[in-house]
């Protein structure tokens, strides 16, 4: 909704409010949820789904996850626009959010604990963070230990298995994850470049045809998405591993390329400028014939016309400056994906 319509910001006494006395007060907020069908309980005797808090390394604090009695887990995300609400049958619901369950790999969540506890020595899962109930539940009841092979060295002695964090394997594993995300971004034609941000607003058919996107832009975006589940320092290592130049550097490079194009265009324009320019020789001849210059008196004096001065590099016009300024603050598509 546009900023104009902030009726809510200045409450007025309105005639409809009279009826509010007899409105039944809802006891608690309703929640609108998009629930993944895979996670839905099938039978009547199935156990109940639960929402539990686990430490989310990307947020740096606990977040809600939906767990199935059989140990499957999904992230519980909410989509919130600033001004939204629901009408449910004949009830107003002021909570205009949409809650959604999205798949998550519990290995990503376990990675944080492995790095914290198992970087120096191998440990068995039931010995890690015994004092933290949610962590040990995650590691022992939800996580599939088979998957830990991707991020850790496994040593087994008898029944027991011990895990030690392995950075090389972790980074390779994360790089493969990043590539999976790149693939889906391409498939969905999500626009990732910072160069044409205005196209975010409408994803037109045209966009699909124009292959303006740059491989590195996709990788950077995918890496940022993966990074949302990682500690900041591990995210940094992943960026290095994938050889992603920083975004600022990329913007500077792109700007330099754009300027080069612009100055070349400027030269072309100069040739058909409206001002009539005289050739040097013409000007000299005209000046001579006009008799304004006493050429006989000083034959060595050369006559220079003002047009002979070298063309200065074309600077940006006011209009172009305004356009560049306007494009600066444009929202990037990543801002829409923010996990709330």
């Amino acid at each position: 909704m546009s900023k104009k319509a902030t009726r809510a910001s200045k409450p007025k006494a309105d005639p409809d409010a009279e009826g509010s006395a007899k409105m039944s007060k809802a006891s608690a907020l309703k929640k609108v949820l998009f629930m993944s069908q895979e996670l839905l309980p099938k039978d009547a005797d199935d156990g109940h789904l639960r929402l539990e808090r686990f430490f989310h390394p990307g947020h740096g604090k606990e977040a809600l996850f939906m767990t199935h009695p059989d140990g499957r887990i999904m992230e519980f995300v909410e989509y919130a626009e600033p001004r939204r609400s629901w009408l449910v049958n004949s009830e107003v619901c002021s909570n205009g959010r949409i809650y959604m369950t999205t798949p998550v790999d519990p290995t990503l969540l376990a990675l944080y604990h492995l790095r914290k506890h198992c970087a120096q020595k191998a440990m068995s899962l039931d010995n890690i963070a015994v004092e933290e109930a949610s962590t040990s539940r995650l590691l022992n009841e939800i996580l599939d230990p088979e998957n830990l092979k991707c991020v850790a060295d496994v040593k087994s002695s008898g029944e027991q298995k011990f895990y030690r964090y392995n950075q090389e394997r972790t980074l390779a594993w994360l790089a493969l994850k990043t590539r999976q995300v790149v693939r889906i971004l391409k498939e969905k034609q999500v626009h990732c470049g910072h160069s044409a941000q205005s196209q975010n607003f409408v994803r037109s058919e045209k966009l699909a045809a124009e292959n303006v996107s740059n491989e590195m832009d996709y990788t950077r975006m995918a890496c940022d998405i993966v990074g949302r589940y990682l500690d900041a320092d591990l995210h940094g290592l992943l960026i290095n591993y994938l050889h992603i130049p920083s975004e600022i550097q990329a913007i500077v490079e792109e700007k330099a390329a754009a300027q080069k194009r612009k100055s070349m265009a400027g030269k072309d324009e100069g040739s058909d400028s409206k001002k009539i320019k005289l050739n040097d020789s013409d000007a000299a001849a005209k000046l001579k014939s006009s008799g304004l210059v006493d050429s006989d008196g000083d034959p060595n004096a050369s006559i220079t016309s003002p047009t002979a001065a070298p063309l200065k590099e074309r600077s940006l016009t006011a209009k172009e400056k305004a356009l560049a300024k306007g494009a600066k603050g444009t929202k990037s598509i990543a801002s829409f994906f923010k996990v709330k």
Partner: protein, 155 residues
Amino acid sequence: MSITLDFNGKNIAKGKELALHFLPAKINGDGEANVDHYFNNYTREATEFGSGILTNALRGYPLMGEKLKVPEGYRGLVLQETEKPISYSSDRQLRLTGVFQDFTFWNYDKVPSNGDPYRQALFQADVAQALAQPITEDDLEAEIARNKENANDSP
């Protein structure tokens, strides 16, 4: 602490089908309203903007809307908490109010399009799916080997 979703498959199968409107406005209040009489009555089809586009108005502000399905692979549920939690750490329960397959998405004075933040947000689900996809050990070994090779090429 945890929150239990107090329903099972049978409850969902029998769940009441709800009609939902996703309004582009903040409403400070919850409760009954005469939605049929004051809102649904005024929903019109506006074929000049495209097929399936609806118009209505909320407090005189024009709305443009469209019937949308719940994203593929998902089921729409409306949950409600019957008792207020006593404290942050206490166990809570959410009960099922009803289910839905589609809802009406309303925009303020704008034809719903792929540019809407709602539709863009749905990519999140696909991205999360791709991210959660397990990686086989063979692929992992190949990647490690490849990385070592690259490191040797450009020391």
